[in-house]
Symmetry: C2
């Protein structure tokens, strides 16, 4: 075990360069901790000539990440290119086929192809590690797979997309619209190249799908997630929530129920005094509940060079120590196909709708809610423009089915100006 562990790093963006930096600066500390040197044999990226602030001349170079994955002097293929398919997946498969272990930060690839890749890895006796794929620098994969291995996991929750949390926090602080803050975040480089991955909740849902698989021993099931982004959250919603003592967060929840696996990623109202309510900016939080441990809360930076590289290095160090195990915490062949289940647990809901400015519109809404069995806890009508009047409603606890029935009934009546917004209130 005193042979060096030799890495091939594919992708030299922010995270890749962070990993390079740690290995260069902390080589003695790393060797003291894992008992052998960790070295970089070769790297691969789009451009060889780009000035990255660190000379790459001491490392081998491959234009093609697949060639890097197959190099004889590489023990671990470190995939930091990203993307659900394409080069990342091809090179990962090539690495496994060539008998290499894989460390990746690629949540999209794992959320969609995780089961197939896990089967391939385990058949080849290789490991895939992906601490950096979920919640940045927070060691949440390690906590679930190892730290809480003695627990039946009952629920996993979290705020796991820093960009969405930044947008929602900034909207409130600056009193600006979603569109304005979205543009600001994009300008600052806080959003993915396809911003829909962030604001549509897809990136966070990728992470939730991975956590669910580990927590509940199920095949990763991204398509089974009830998914809603933050694009329709208005500054009015944020202000109304604040008035009532709530914050709006893009919250992921996964739990095993009698009917199947419930996975949802959607904007929710959470009490502003709760740990989730106090989470500002790009910080992530994951809450894990186990039958023995009760509740564990992990908080930390969800993105960025240092935090993500720290998570990649945790995986590299475990492999260097010779610690091996199945990809999702149990053998891929033992994972069961989950039955997706939507939440039927009643919850209070927040509703915002714009009513056409006609007599009886509000009465109609109230009647339809009542007929569906949804009872109103608070209602507030705001000053209105010439054509429509905004109305905010907080319901008593109700099933989502009853609420959807009422909303559907409203559609045909012509009293709504635009689509209503309905957000679950999570009393944590």
């Amino acid at each position: 075990m005193t042979q060096p562990l030799r890495l091939g790093i594919a992708g030299l963006g922010t995270v890749g360069m962070g990993v390079l930096r740690i290995i260069r600066q902390q080589s003695a500390l790393l060797e003291a901790r894992v008992g052998r040197p960790i070295v970089i044999s070769a790297v691969s990226a789009r451009s060889r000539d780009k000035d990255r602030g660190i000379p790459l001349t001491s490392y081998g170079w491959e234009d093609d990440p697949v060639a890097l994955a197959r190099r004889e002097d590489v023990d671990v293929f470190v995939e930091l290119m990203g993307g659900e398919n394409g080069a990342a997946k091809t090179a990962t498969e090539a690495a496994l086929a060539a008998g290499k272990d894989v460390v990746t930060a690629n949540k999209a690839m794992l959320a969609v192809h995780g089961q197939t890749l896990a089967e391939q890895a385990e058949a080849a006796g290789r490991v895939i590690r992906y601490e950096a794929a979920v919640a940045g620098g927070i060691p949440v994969i390690k906590t679930l797979v190892e730290g809480l291995a003695g627990n039946g996991i009952t629920r996993v929750m979290g705020v796991m997309n820093g960009s969405c949390n930044y947008i929602l926090t900034r909207m409130e602080d600056a009193g600006k619209s979603y569109q304005e803050i979205f543009a600001e975040a994009e300008g600052l480089g806080y959003l993915e190249a396809d911003p829909q991955l962030d604001v549509g909740g897809i990136d966070a849902a990728h992470k939730l799908a991975i956590l669910s698989s580990i927590a509940f021993g199920t095949k990763v099931d991204f398509n089974g997630i009830q998914l809603e982004g933050i694009e329709r959250i208005s500054i009015d919603d944020i202000r109304a929530a604040a008035d009532m003592g709530y914050k709006i967060k893009l919250l992921g929840v996964a739990q095993a129920t009698g009917r199947g696996l419930e996975q949802r990623m959607q904007p929710c109202l959470v009490p502003e005094s709760s740990p989730l309510g106090q989470l500002d900016g790009g910080t992530n939080m994951v809450v894990i509940e186990g039958d023995a441990v009760g509740q564990i809360v992990l908080r930390g930076p969800g993105a960025g060079e240092g935090p993500t590289a720290s998570a990649v290095m945790a995986d590299v160090c475990d492999i260097a120590r010779g610690w091996r195990g199945p990809v999702f915490g149990q053998a891929a062949s033992a994972l069961v196909t989950p039955t997706p289940a939507f939440s039927q647990a009643p919850a209070p809901y927040y509703l915002r709708m714009a009513l056409v400015d006609k007599p009886g519109a509000l009465a109609k809404i109230a009647t339809l809610l009542g007929e569906a069995g949804v009872s109103i806890y608070r209602m507030r009508q705001y000053e209105h423009s010439d054509v429509s009047a905004p109305v905010l409603i907080v319901t008593h606890k109700t099933s989502r089915a009853a609420l959807d029935q009422a909303l559907e009934a409203m559609e045909g009546t012509g009293v709504l100006a635009g689509q209503p917004v309905a957000l679950r209130i999570e009393e944590l």
Copy 2:
């Protein structure tokens, strides 16, 4: 690796029975996770006949934990007896000498004898794992040793004694004196048999010493900790702190400085809106700062059957997976002897003192503080009894040395009725 991992459990109190319960109830899940059965070969406790709610007839029995530690059918000796010396230490040494791995929840033993035991274990090629020794169910050892292995750790902080936090929280909620709530906590069984271990800060300091060693690559140095308990915190202090927007917490801080290793465990004022300030009751929180990751915060239950057994099982599972490593994250032989350093970083301080009811007493105090270079930010004198007047002072940032100089100068003046209380204010 499909051979069962065979445990010998010494100590069948709350934690021991919790471990038994998990292994009985979750055997299939555990085997799926670690790839082999985890079984209990034999147990040892003070009384064989006590009714523990679970029959022990299917396990071997040893009156003597040393005999348990040496049994041929035991691979891992699980030490849950507690105590710095005595049977726990003797049996742990016997287990290592007999070629067994050890899992323990014994913070006192590790804080005092950790280096010797680590040397013995590593010489014998055995591991000692102790997730349950620090912060109950929170996987903080795993986070430090493994999850943040790519980081130079810069600071570790935490509230790690649930009993102290319970007492301080209850004093404020109930508006009762330290003595009253102490008696209440003792009646509820929340305190150690020797309550000084809790309220004197010793238990929390044991935990801090262990974290320091891992974080900074130093030999565990319990005696190097600047230690102060909560016994002198009065309800007046708690109320005055609350008036100013602070909570009082028994806070441990460890950091490497240019002068050496700073380790302190002492009651501090922390902002009530900070994560530490919001920590109520028996919940623990550990904050870890690393040069790559930034800040990670871990929160969870610090004690109790389920949480502590969960931590023990994490260690057992890692050993079952064949994952082995040095006791304190680096080879015991590589750990350096730390130079204890007291904090010289200036901080604001909270002072409470009772002045004799004589003209000029307050002026004398203010003068002596000024002469030592301690400047006063806020001062408040309360209604007083016939003989003494309570005075609360918040200083501007000052060194502890300057403050101690002023306090020393006050002693000879005869203006103080009783010993002053000085608490550091940590702006986190």
